[in-house]
Symmetry: C2
Subunit: 504 residues, 2 copies
C-alpha cells in the first residue's frame, strides 16, 4: 500500500492520471446541470459553439538556438470574439493546463460570464504536448517516445509559447494596446501567476485559481495534501473518517486470507481480478478527486458528481443499512464517484482511460514538478507514510531515464519567503483558494501586497470560482466571483488611465 | 563602405570584436593610473589579489529535459570575502558580460569600493561560453563549432545560470537570508536589469549601468547610436566633425586612383596592404570605441586612453600643423586610440586580436541580440546609410547557418511601452546612463516609478560609474556614485526590515 500510494502521488496532480478506473466514458462536455444555456443565445449564432479553433505556428525551443530549436509545431488555441469590443478592448487569456484545452475551456465558464461586462475577447491556449498541440509533426508516438523529444515539455517553454502567441495575436488583430489578463486553474493557475511574474509586459494581471505554487521544495509540508482530505471527511462525519481510516488494514488483511481476493472482487464488483494495490488505488482516487471537486452544486469536471459529494460519500458510509460491513460502506462511497448514473454493473480498476489527455503530466512530475504531497501523518485518513524524494527519483529513472530537478521551480519562479520577495515587487495577481481543496495547502493564502491578493474560501474546492455559475451557487461563491471582477476591473481601469485612453 | 559598416554594426556591441587592430597587446589589468592601490592593503593579504577563482558545476540547458540538457560544465566565478560581514550580510554579484570575467572585474572597481560600507561579499560570475566557462568539456573547438553547440549560448540560459549559482552559493555559505544585489555594465547591465525582472526572489535590486535594453525591435531609432557619436565629436569641435565626416569620400577617392593604396598605406602607417574597407573599419572602430570610453580621467578599458579622449582626437584633427592634410589629421586622431604609448611603428588593421575573449558575441548578435544601431542619417559623422535587418540576417545565415529571432528579446524581457508595463510592477532597479555613450540612446533615461530610477549624466560615458574612482573624478561622477550607494542602502535596509532583522 505504502509504495502504491507513494507512486500514485507522483501522478496525483489536479485532475491527473486516472490510475484507477471509471465504469463508463466521461462525457467531454459539462452535463446539462451546468451547461451554460443562458450563454448560448449570445454565442456565435451560426455554430452555437463556445469557441472557434485556431492554430499558431510555434517554435520548439525558445531558449536555445540549436538547429533543432527552430523546429515548429502547430499550437491549438480556442477563441471567442462574441463579446469583444475590439479597438483595444481587453483580452482574457486562459493559460492552458496539462490536458485537452477544450475540456478546460468548457470548465471555465467564469470567463464567458464576465466577458460581456468587459467587452473582452476570450482566448484559451493549449499547453504544448497536450491535446492537439503536439510537437514533432503532431505525431504523439514520436513526441512522447522518450526524453529526447519529451524534453521540450516544460513550464518555461509553455509560458514562452503563450507570450509569443499573445503578442502575435494582438498584432494581427490590430490590438497591440489591448490589456491582457490571464486566467488559470490548478497547474493552469500556476502558469497564470508565473506568467504575470515573468511576462508583466504581456499580461497586466493574473487570476490564479487553486494554484499551489508553494507546493515545492518543502515550502509546504508533504503531509498537507492528505491532511486536508482527512479534514474534509472528518468535518462531515467523524465516523466516516474512522471507517475509511481503518479500512485499509481490513482490505489488506482480507487480501492475505485464502479466498480474500474473491471476497474483495465481489464486494467491490470489480469486472476482473485486481491486485490489492489496484483496489486501494481505486478507492484512494475516489476520495482524493472527490475532495478536490467537493463543489457546492452538481458538477461534471472529473466525474459526474452530486453537490457536496463528500457529504454523499459519508452518507453512504454512515448508512445504518450497511451495519458493520465496511466493504459495503466503501462500495457505497465509491459509487458516488464512479457510478453517479447507477448503471455500472462492474468496475475496471485499472482501465487506464485518459479522456482528457492528461497522461503526459507524469513526465512533468518526473522533471520539474516535484510536488511533495504523498505524506501521511498519524491522523491521516490514509495509512501513515513518509513522502520520499528517492521514490520519485527512482520511479522517474525507471520510467523515463530522467533525473528530476527538484529545486528548479523555486530557482526559476521563487516560492521561498514569497511574502518578502513580492512585498515590494510585482502586482496584480489574485490567488483564489478553496480550503476544502487538498491543493490549497500549497497556495498563497494571505495577501502579499495591496495588489497581490489572496481570496480564501473555507467552503471552496478546486478552482470552483472559474466554473460556470448555477442558480444554486452559495453566497460566498457569488461574492468571491464579484470580488474577482471588481479587482480585475481596477487593473484594467488603471491600465487605460496610464495609457491615456478612455476605458473602452 | 556602406556594407562594411553594416556588417561591422553586427559586431559592434559594447567592447565588442576588435575588427580593427591594435598595435600592441592590451594589458589585462588596469594601468597604474587606475590601479586600486588604496584597496590593496585591505585585500587578501596573502595573495594581494582582487579575487579568488572558483568553479561551479552548471547544467547545460535549464529549460528542457533532453538527455543533452543534463550535460554539465564548469562555470568560473571570482569571489572576494575581504569585507564580508557573513551572518546574512549583503552579497554583491556582478552578472558577467560577453567576455573574460577577470577583465570585467578589474574594470568594476565601484563594487570593491562600496563593499566595505555594506560589509558585502563580492562575486563576479562569468557568462557561459566566455573566458574559462566553456560548455562541452571546456573545449572551445567543440563549443564554438556550430549552432548545435553554440545554440546553448543565450541570455536566458545565462540568467538561469546566475540564479542557480547564487542560490547554491548562499546555501553553502549558510547565508540564505543575505540580500543579493546584482551589478552589471553594458550587456552585463542588461543582464542585471533582466535578472531583477525575472528573478526578483534571488536579487533584491539591480544596478544596470549603460544597459541599452530598449535598443531592440525598433523601440530605439537605428540612427541613435551613430548620432550620439556624431554629437560627441561635434560638441567638441565643429571642424573636427566636418573633417571626419568628409574624410570617407576622400579615402575612397584616393583608393580608386592609381597608386592610391600606397598613399593610404603610407599615410596611416599600415604594416601591410589593406582593403579600403579595412582602413575605414579601423578608423570607425577608433571613433566608436573612443566615444564609448570618453571617460573624464585616463583609462584603460578597451585601449589605454587619456582623459576625455574625444577632445584629444579633435585636438589632433584641429592641429594647425597638419594644415589641409586630412589623412595626417585622421592619423593623429587614430593614434590617440591605437598608440597612446607612442611606440607603435606600424599598424595591423585586421589582426583579429581578441584579448578579452569577446568573439562569441557575434553569435549572440546573430540570434537574439538584434540591436539596430548601424543607421546614419544625413548629419551623421559616418556616411549616410540605412540599417537593414536583411543584411544582418544574410550575414548570420552565411556565417552560422542560423536565422535571427529579432522579436525574442522584447517578447521575453519586454521593452515596448516599458513605462506603462513597469509603472506599477517591479521595483529596485537603477538605470545609469552617460549621454556621451552611444549606447545611451537605447537606455532607460527617465524614472519609471519610485524605485525604478534613471540616473542620467550628460558628461558620462559607457558605465563610467562602475569604474574605480580616481582622485581626478569630476563632481558629477562622485555624486552619481553617492546616489547609487544611497539607493542601494535603502533597498537593503528595507529588506532587513521586512525580514525582521537588524541591518547587520
Amino acid at each position: 500500500m505504502k509504495t502504491a500510494m507513494a507512486i500514485n502521488s507522483i501522478f496525483l496532480f489536479f485532475s491527473l492520471l486516472f490510475l484507477s478506473s471509471t465504469a463508463k466514458v466521461i462525457p467531454r462536455f459539462p452535463s446539462s446541470v451546468i451547461t451554460p444555456e443562458k450563454l448560448s443565445a449570445d454565442l456565435d449564432s451560426k455554430s452555437g459553439q463556445l469557441y472557434k479553433t485556431k492554430y499558431f505556428t510555434q517554435i520548439l525551443d525558445h531558449f536555445t538556438f540549436t538547429p533543432r530549436s527552430y523546429q515548429t509545431f502547430q499550437q491549438r488555441y480556442l477563441i471567442n470574439d462574441t463579446y469583444w469590443g475590439k479597438k483595444n478592448s481587453p483580452i482574457f487569456v486562459y493559460t492552458g493546463n496539462e490536458g485537452d484545452i477544450e475540456w478546460f475551456t468548457q470548465n471555465t465558464g467564469f470567463m464567458y460570464e464576465v466577458a460581456p461586462r468587459f467587452r473582452a475577447l476570450l482566448v484559451f491556449i493549449e499547453h504544448r504536448f497536450y491535446g492537439k498541440s503536439i510537437p514533432f509533426g503532431g505525431n504523439k508516438k514520436i513526441a512522447y517516445k522518450n526524453a529526447s523529444t519529451l524534453g521540450y515539455l516544460s513550464s518555461s517553454q509553455a509560458l514562452a509559447d503563450y507570450a509569443t502567441l499573445i503578442i502575435d495575436l494582438k498584432k494581427n488583430l490590430s490590438a497591440t494596446d489591448s490589456p491582457v489578463v490571464v486566467f488559470g486553474g490548478s497547474y493552469g493557475g500556476m502558469l497564470a501567476a508565473w506568467f504575470r511574474l515573468k511576462y508583466p509586459h504581456v499580461a497586466i494581471g493574473a487570476l490564479a485559481s487553486s494554484a499551489p505554487i508553494l507546493n515545492f521544495d518543502n515550502i509546504t509540508s508533504a503531509y498537507s495534501f492528505n491532511n486536508i482530505i482527512t479534514q474534509d471527511f472528518r468535518s462531515v462525519s467523524e465516523n466516516c473518517y474512522k471507517v475509511i481510516k481503518e479500512s485499509w488494514q481490513q482490505i489488506e488483511d482480507t487480501w492475505r486470507n485464502q479466498g480474500g481476493d474473491k471476497i474483495l472482487r465481489k464486494s467491490f464488483k470489480t469486472c476482473k481480478n485486481s491486485s490489492v494495490d489496484g483496489l486501494e488505488g481505486w478507492l484512494f482516487t475516489a476520495y482524493v478527486y472527490t475532495a478536490m471537486t467537493d463543489y457546492p452544486t452538481p458538477s461534471n469536471f472529473l466525474n459526474p458528481l452530486p453537490a457536496y459529494p463528500i457529504k454523499q460519500m459519508c452518507k453512504a458510509i454512515d448508512d445504518p443499512k450497511t451495519g458493520n460491513d465496511t466493504f459495503a460502506k466503501l462500495y457505497g462511497a465509491a459509487n458516488i464517484y464512479y457510478n453517479s448514473s447507477g448503471t455500472a454493473t462492474c468496475f475496471n480498476l485499472d482501465d487506464g482511460s485518459d479522456p482528457h489527455g492528461l497522461a503526459e503530466w507524469a513526465w512533468q512530475a518526473c522533471t520539474e514538478m516535484i510536488m511533495p504531497t504523498g505524506g501521511n501523518d498519524k491522523g491521516s485518513i490514509f495509512p501513515a507514510s513518509e513522502w520520499d524524494y528517492n521514490d520519485t527519483a527512482s520511479y522517474c529513472k525507471d520510467n523515463y531515464h530522467v533525473s528530476p530537478r527538484p529545486h528548479w521551480i523555486t530557482t526559476h519562479f521563487g516560492g521561498n519567503n514569497i511574502e518578502v520577495a513580492l512585498k515590494r515587487y510585482g502586482s496584480n495577481i489574485i490567488f483564489f483558494n478553496g480550503l476544502r481543496d487538498p491543493w490549497s495547502g500549497g497556495g498563497v493564502l494571505t495577501n502579499i501586497s495591496k495588489s497581490i491578493i489572496a481570496i480564501v474560501e473555507k467552503e471552496g474546492a478546486h478552482h470552483v470560482d472559474l466554473r460556470f455559475s448555477t442558480s444554486e451557487d452559495p453566497k460566498w461563491l457569488i461574492k468571491a466571483r464579484q470580488k474577482e471582477v471588481k479587482i480585475i476591473r481596477k487593473w484594467i481601469s488603471q491600465y487605460y488611465q496610464e495609457l491615456g485612453r478612455p476605458y473602452f
